[in-house]
Amino acid sequence: MKHPDRIALSRRGFLGMAAGGMALAGAAAPARAQKVATSARIVILGAGAAGTAMASRLVERLDGATITIVDGRKRHLYQPGFTLIAAGLKPASYSVSSTGEWLPRGVEWIEEAAAEIDPEANRIVTTGGKTVAYDFLILASGLKLDWDAIEGFDMALVGTNGIGAVYAGPEQAAATWGAMDRFTDEGGKAVFFRPATEMKCAGAPLKYTFLTDDYARRKGSRGRVEIHYAAHNKSFFSVPIVNEKVRMLFDDRGVKPSFDHVLKAIDPGKKILTFATPEGDREMDYDFTNVIPPMVAPDVVRNSPLPWQDGPWVNEGWAEVDKETMRHVRYRNVFAVGDIAGVPKGKTAASVKWQVPVAEDHLVADIEGKLSPAVYNGYTSCPMITRVGRAMLVEFDYKNNLTPSFPGVIAPLEELWISWLMKEVALKATYNAMLRGKA
């Protein structure tokens, strides 16, 4: 009985059923044609994928609203491209555009980061000291890569000493390619892993393992290359059926698995990784690695009343939202979308694409004094690259069900060329269309 929206939804669903198909059809057709007149002040924290998509959609839905987007970052980064950059297939510039070029007309952009969120007083304060009051707050701040949590890691060393860091940014991804290219020429021992926190695109560490294997094979150096994958718990991937497929593929490719390994420290000089394991610390030497740090909510969110107050995410700081409506459970005029949302699955651009229209619909319904039937079912997708030229188009939801977009046509657990084509050709275009509110 904690989430009033769910009650409202079920009531609405019941009424809909009672009134028959006509009522449902009426509810399903959004009022796209007519804009909703309002003087609401809407603040969007963050101009990444989720914030920008939300801004574009709200501008189309609302007439007269004051929409302010707060983000100090001048660069917009297409993060799904980092893997392709780190595989030497695209230049660093592939992922870089400017924040401003995606923001729709009619949105005010404050080019500062948020320093404080006060949901009791319905206002935020920027790093420059500006106070912005709101009627609705969209939290789309993204997450923080907690590099400091890895003892001995130095960002300046990425690309040298066999150190990669695909997540760190487009330039670091390109530097990682340089290191991987050298490694697959020379041979040695590669060690891959992931953090124990929630993370962006949990498939990416696996993709990079597959890609390193693929390059070694193409160059004829696979015999000199040893590849290890140290999983943070007892599985490679949270969706059991996908995990089993990855296990088979790792077996086929000769990737050696370890389990319950969480990285603590790196010694770039001696080339040693130290993992925490249930049996105590374990050191593994490496010649090439892809460092992925723990991921947590940005400080501005962690220091606010918005994070989960109990449960497994207290230390990570994700916003406590209802997983079906993206609405904050304590502050009803606050929604969270994208990486910052404390929901069980996702932290991908695909999640954003499905979350944003749901949160948008609930917000607009609030303005209209109505109830929205929109529900996010946890859908996300991962084009799991298994080599250059092939991928598995894995799509799933909160229940760990596979939810293929093209059932019977594109098999989710097969390594296919068409899935690669989607990743390489169609994904960025779809992402850009999403930023413009058109996909």
């Binding site: 250059v388 030229g389 098999a411 296919l416 275009a429 269309a433």
Partner: protein, 119 residues
Amino acid sequence: MKDLTLETLIAVFEEMYGPLLFWTMVAVAIIITLAFIFVLIRDRSIEGRYLARAELTAPIGAIAAILFVQNITNSGFSDIGGPIDVIVVLLTGVAGAGGLIFLAYVVQAFMRQPGNNRH
């Protein structure tokens, strides 16, 4: 895909090629189609000689289209992993072949002397 509407598809294609190139390609396709319809009406029949010659270009169009797709995507024939991949290759080939046949036919039909369409 949740809302795979025509509008979404057009938006995606505009992003893929850039609006200018995308709509230029659409315009070229429409012009070739209109030109084909024009010569069809003008000649009141399909000219067998032109068609036969045009069909000779089909394999070139098919192979060119397939190689083009592979070339822009860091992939090749060895990446074909399942039935759908074979279907995509075939459809790409058919599209390339069909396009070039139309083009070749129209070019020939326009190059011949007016009023000289019976042999």
